[in-house]
């Protein structure tokens, strides 16, 4: 008798639970909104990237929803924090796809984090677009095959490294260059590799190649070693938190030569960490400049300043464009179906965003122009623009 009662109770409970679960699933898919995921760097070393990205995506969603949404539905954003770490990025991706049931994901922006998540979103056939994942492997696997569900809104590392190598040779007239790489980041190693290839091909010499790890704070020993090789210029393709300290400590040691890097240098924190004077004679390649004069960009900058009281950085701009791209792909696909949206995304040609016109090539990389930005007394100023070949 007693066991019978218990069994019945368990059975009842089981059915109730099952009901609850299926009920949840249904309400998720029949909602009047389309969910977009944000796998963003809300904490960790890239924390300022995630915040800007979120701001940019929100602004784009507001604009799209203000114009009536997509396919008669409103867009909504769910954010998952990837803590700027590859393992956490994978967890965040799983959460967005299985719990939040998003149709497409924006982010992460850190290359090594995106590369770690590709298996998850490809397995679920959900489109992912990385605003700033510049490493080639973000959209192409190790066999050179294009990843069907991965896109990006930025140009790739070969281009950034190549552009900077040309700029250093032609404009800065440097012949001997030292390279300082963040060994824990695919992004940093990628930029350094292509910089070195182009620079040595054009007749330059690499006099020193040193490395450090994410979260390091003391670079004086390494910089002293670099100083002894008398370079004309130092290339540091890394992220702002370490770069800021490197520039500061280099200037303290009396290293006065120009320093340059990639878009990881682009952060409002740089002048604070490095010091305004120390940043003079430093340059970085970038995907975006808020000083660009296109009407669409002017409107975006005005709206962004009104909403957040600061100028948009490249993460905000490219996340904004990523959202526009997803909306366009949804329109082209004609239905809320992740796989079809991904197929439609590959077909996009000449979509105008705030960072330029986007056309995807066969490897899902956009073809667009690059900017060289110079820090002058702590302010970014637009130096020159280098067009794609």
């Amino acid at each position: 008798m007693q066991t019978g009662k218990k069994l019945l109770a368990i059975l009842c409970l089981g059915t109730m639970l099952a009901g609850a679960v299926t009920g949840c699933g249904k309400s998720g898919s029949s909602a009047k909104e389309i969910k977009i995921g944000g796998n963003l760097e809300m904490t960790g070393t890239g924390a300022s990237y995630g915040k800007s990205s979120q701001n940019g995506i929100k602004l784009a969603i507001e604009k799209i929803n203000g114009q009536g949404g997509v396919l008669g539905k409103k867009l909504a954003l769910s954010v998952a924090d990837n803590k700027s770490e590859a393992a956490e990025a994978t967890n965040a991706m799983q959460k967005l796809i299985s719990q939040d049931k998003v149709v497409a994901v924006i982010g992460p922006s850190i290359s090594s984090c995106v590369i770690a998540t590709t298996a998850v979103n490809a397995g679920a056939k959900v489109l992912d677009i990385s605003p700033l994942g510049t490493n080639p492997k973000v959209t192409v696997d190790q066999n050179g095959k294009t990843r069907a569900y991965n896109f990006r809104t930025c140009f790739i590392d070969p281009f950034q490294g190549t552009v900077m190598a040309k700029f250093v040779k032609d404009t800065l007239k440097a012949k001997k260059v030292a390279i300082l790489v963040d060994n824990s980041s695919d992004y940093s190693k990628g930029l350094a590799q292509y910089f070195e290839e182009t620079f040595t091909k054009n007749g330059g010499t690499i006099v020193a190649k040193e490395s450090f790890l994410q979260k390091d704070t003391d670079f004086k020993a390494t910089l002293t070693k670099i100083q002894a090789t008398n370079p004309d210029m130092i290339y540091v393709p890394a992220y702002y938190q370490e770069v800021g300290l490197i520039v500061k400590q280099a200037r303290e040691l009396g290293i006065t030569v120009p320093m340059a890097g990639g878009d990881g240098w682009d952060s409002a924190k740089m002048p604070e960490i490095a010091g305004k004077a120390a940043l003079n004679k430093t340059f970085f390649s970038s995907l975006y400049s808020p000083e660009d004069n296109t009407p669409m960009n002017k409107e975006f900058v005005a709206a962004y300043e009104k909403a957040y009281n600061e100028k948009p950085d490249v993460f905000a701009a490219l996340s904004y464009d990523s959202t526009l791209l997803i909306a366009e792909a949804l329109k082209k696909a004609g239905e809320v179906n992740s796989a079809k949206v991904a197929a439609a995304m590959a077909e996009i040609k000449g979509l105008e965003g705030v960072s330029g016109k986007v056309t995807f090539d066969a490897q899902h990389n956009p073809v667009k122009s690059a900017f060289i930005i110079e820090y002058k007394d702590g302010k970014q100023s637009f130096k020159t623009k280098i067009e794609p070949k």
Partner: protein
């Protein structure tokens, strides 16, 4: 830029290494004191260092304090935090197995890190320039006033600590408790109060290191304590855990080795070298450089 000569480079690396090493020493002292007295590896110690940096940050930015008052406030604040942590988290575990206390310490560490992330956001903060950096050049070497400040403050603090431990009544009590807690209790020493005091002193030193690092690197964040905490722990083990001069020496050795390895071999090997030292010491002299071999009674 005429840094060509080997000697010059070598001397410059010693300067770099000493400023880094004195930070490790300050943190290592706290580790060693706490281990000496209750045989606990306090993994939350690196986060006390972070807490000190943040108190210093608030003092200099919000209350516009100058260096010395900010340093004292940070040391007092972190000292109190150390006492509270010991009272709440470690005292109830005093007679629990050591592994349980160790796990509690890791819990406290995470608690401090993520509470700070909640309060202060994870974004790195920029420490205000309390001293305008002045750079001194002599004989081709470069030293700035912050490096001198770090070294001098560290030495003064260590001297102060040595005085307290060796020449005051409280210090005598601390040594007694560390030697034999039960006998010390029989002699009428209030063990709880002495342990609280040890936590306060150790935490205050870590906080001082935090403020100095904030001024030197001018960037602080809630997870800044993890790596220096680990390195300082190695420094404490290298010098002989539980021994004060050992911790100072261990810290300076760690700083110098890191500077020399990145300066003359490759920066990639820096951390590997630091941990290799730990392994070598544990293999050949487990009680540390200044430790005596004590046979355990079975």
């Amino acid at each position: 830029m005429n840094m060509g000569s080997f000697t010059q480079q070598f001397l410059q690396q010693i300067i770099n290494g000493l400023s880094l090493g004195s930070i490790y020493s300050l943190i290592a002292l706290g580790y060693t004191m706490i281990y000496g007295i209750i045989k606990l590896i306090n993994f939350a110690h690196g986060d006390i260092y972070m807490l000190g940096a943040f108190i210093g940050f608030v003092a200099t930015t919000k209350f516009q304090m100058s260096f010395l008052p900010a340093l004292i406030l940070a040391m007092v604040g972190a000292g109190l935090a150390g006492i509270i942590i010991e009272r709440i988290a470690y005292r109830p575990m005093r007679n629990a197995p050591r592994i349980a206390v160790l796990i509690t310490a890791i819990g406290v560490s995470f608690f401090l890190e993520y509470t700070m992330i909640l309060i202060a956001t994870p974004q790195p903060r920029t420490f205000p320039a309390v001293f305008s950096p002045t750079v001194y050049h002599f004989a081709g070497l470069v030293v700035n006033n912050q490096q001198i400040l770090i070294l001098v403050s560290a030495l003064l603090l260590m001297a102060g600590l040595t005085y307290i431990v060796n020449h005051t009544k409280a210090g005598q009590a601390m040594r007694a408790v560390s030697f034999d807690p039960d006998a010390a209790r029989l002699m009428g020493i209030n063990i709880d109060r002495i342990i609280s005091m040890t936590f306060a002193l150790g935490s205050a030193l870590a906080a001082a290191a935090g403020v100095l690092v904030g001024i030197y690197y001018n960037s602080i964040d809630p997870l800044m304590g993890t790596m220096p905490g680990l390195k300082a722990f190695i420094a404490a083990v290298v010098g002989g855990i539980g021994i004060l001069p050992g911790a100072m020496m261990g810290g300076l050795i760690m700083g110098l080795v890191e500077a020399m390895v990145s300066g003359f071999f490759s920066s990639t090997f820096r951390d590997a070298a630091a941990f290799a030292i730990l392994i070598i010491i544990l293999l050949y002299k487990p009680s540390g450089l200044l430790g005596k071999n004590v046979k355990e009674k079975v």
